[in-house]
């Protein structure tokens, strides 16, 4: 089951440059929340703060409170522990190129010391089914490299890899920006099904995508959360002029 995320007074920096200013946000469990905004508005930084990926960049730092269910991400919890509970899918599909499809999906578990063969088989199959890739790869799952799949398949492989560690939250950082409309459609359909078991936060440049998949939408501008509301509200009648200007394309 997914858990909610409560963000309070989150600030993030790259060196001396402040990338996020006092973000407060309640992300609902088992729903999809879209993060939209122009390039450089801090939306990627925001989701990377949720699973403490932000701090893997040299000189990057963050403070504030992020509660993932009952876990306090920035207080007394190890980063790796947070990341095991929050799966992440990146902008460009990034399967491990030297690993088979099977090993890609099993990587998160194997590398964290999980070695029960039979159980691994089950998890790999279930994860690939969840990400709607199983039918396409079941015969070559151990023979073919993850890198040999098409872009859309690679991205679903990455989703399966993230799901295999059984997270409660799935962060997607522009997961479809490198994909064609058909692959995009498959992944959007997938997001709908995944909502049943996971909380989803999706960063997207494509506003139609946000409106299609997410119940809630947050609009970021220059490191600030300008508006956060139900998606239909944001896309039909936003409260803030800046949101409306962005949504309608009158922006810069």
């Amino acid at each position: 089951m997914g858990v909610g995320i409560k963000v309070e007074h989150l600030n993030a920096w790259f060196g001396k440059h402040q990338a996020l200013h006092d973000i407060n946000m309640d992300i609902a469990a088992n729903h999809a929340t879209a993060i939209i905004g122009p390039s450089g508005c801090g939306k990627s930084t925001f989701v990377r703060c949720l699973n403490r990926m932000h701090e893997t960049i040299p000189e990057a730092s963050a403070d504030g409170r992020v509660r993932i269910g009952e876990l306090d991400a920035y207080n007394g919890t190890a980063a790796v522990q947070i990341r095991r509970r929050i799966g992440m899918v990146f902008q460009k599909p990034n399967p491990f190129p030297t690993m088979s499809i099977y090993d890609n999906v099993a990587a998160g578990l194997k590398l964290n010391g999980f070695r029960n063969r039979q159980h691994l088989d089950e998890i790999v199959e279930r994860s690939l089914k969840l990400s709607a890739l199983w039918e396409e790869v079941k015969d070559t799952v151990r023979k073919k490299s993850g890198a040999s799949l098409s872009g859309g398949q690679q991205q679903r492989l990455c989703i399966a890899r993230a799901l295999a560690v059984e997270p409660e939250v799935l962060l997607m950082d522009e997961p479809c920006s490198a994909l064609d409309p058909i692959s995009t459609g498959k992944i959007e359909e997938l997001i709908f099904q995944l909502k049943e078991n996971f909380t989803i936060v999706i960063v997207t440049h494509n506003m139609q995508q946000a409106s299609r998949v997410a119940e809630f939408t947050g609009f970021f501008l220059m490191g600030r959360l300008i508006e956060f509301d139900k998606t239909e509200k944001i896309f039909t009648n936003p409260s803030d002029k800046r949101t409306e200007d962005y949504i309608t394309g009158r922006f810069g």
Binding site: H31, E215, N237, S239, T248, G249
Partner: protein, 231 residues
């Protein structure tokens, strides 16, 4: 900046205004035709009908194209939706004008009688509603539109009064039943026009405020930065 898109929206707006002008003119001409038993005006209304239908089709096509090709959102989406609804209301206004003109053509052969109903006053009120509704669209003024909604009650009352007195006339003076019936139908046509004007005003409010005011749905103040509840 999506300037081309903005230009298209502007084009849509001016097309709708022209359409509004045609519909308004049709109602005025039909009322004049009734009051003066003027067959020439009746024919002008009937000819105008084709123009209105043509204009309606053009507006629908443009709006349809914009939705399909530009994926409008927020205020733009509301605007285009409002335009299509106003468009179809205006077309119906044109239809009502035609109905009135047909009544007049039916009436011209009959003797003139004095009836206890002031169609001229009703026509003036209805025509004011239509032009106010269009004005609120031009100005993007929800307050003006609100005023139109209130005027609708006045017209409704006029129609009810006309109904009662004309039925009485039909009972008392069977010889003028046809004239009374025509007057009754015209008052009903005018009341319908007022309803369309009301719809237009509601669509303007929806476009401007993003709130649906039809059928007295309450319009809560929009939430801002509020945490959405997980329902």
């Amino acid at each position: 900046m999506r300037t081309r898109f903005q230009q298209s929206l502007e084009e849509l707006r001016s097309k709708l205004l022209r359409m509004g002008g045609l519909a308004e003119q049709a109602v005025d001409r039909a009322c004049q035709a009734y009051l003066n038993r003027d067959l020439a005006r009746c024919h002008m209304v009937l000819e105008g009908e084709t123009q209105i239908n043509e204009a309606e089709r053009e507006i629908d096509e443009l709006a349809f194209d914009l939705i399909a090709m530009q994926q409008p959102a927020a205020v733009d989406l509301r605007f285009i939706l409002a335009v299509t609804k106003i468009n179809s209301d205006l077309e119906r206004v044109g239809d009502q004008a035609v109905n009135i003109a047909e009544r007049v053509m039916d009436l011209v052969e009959l003797p003139i009688v004095d009836l206890p109903v002031d169609i001229g006053r009703m026509a003036a009120a209805v025509s004011a509603m239509v032009s106010r509704a269009l004005e609120s669209f031009i100005e993007g003024q929800a307050e003006l539109a609100q005023a139109v909604l209130e005027m609708d009650n006045v017209v409704d009352r006029m129609r009810d009064e006309a109904f009662i007195s004309l039925v009485k006339v039909m009972n008392d003076r069977p010889a003028v039943t046809r004239q009374a019936l025509d007057a009754l139908l015209v008052s009903r046509n005018l009341e319908r026009v007022a309803d369309h004007a009301t719809n237009i005003a509601e669509d303007v409010i929806f476009w401007v405020r993003g709130a649906d005011v039809r059928h007295n749905v309450s319009t809560d103040a929009p939430m801002h930065q509020a945490a959405p509840d997980a329902d």
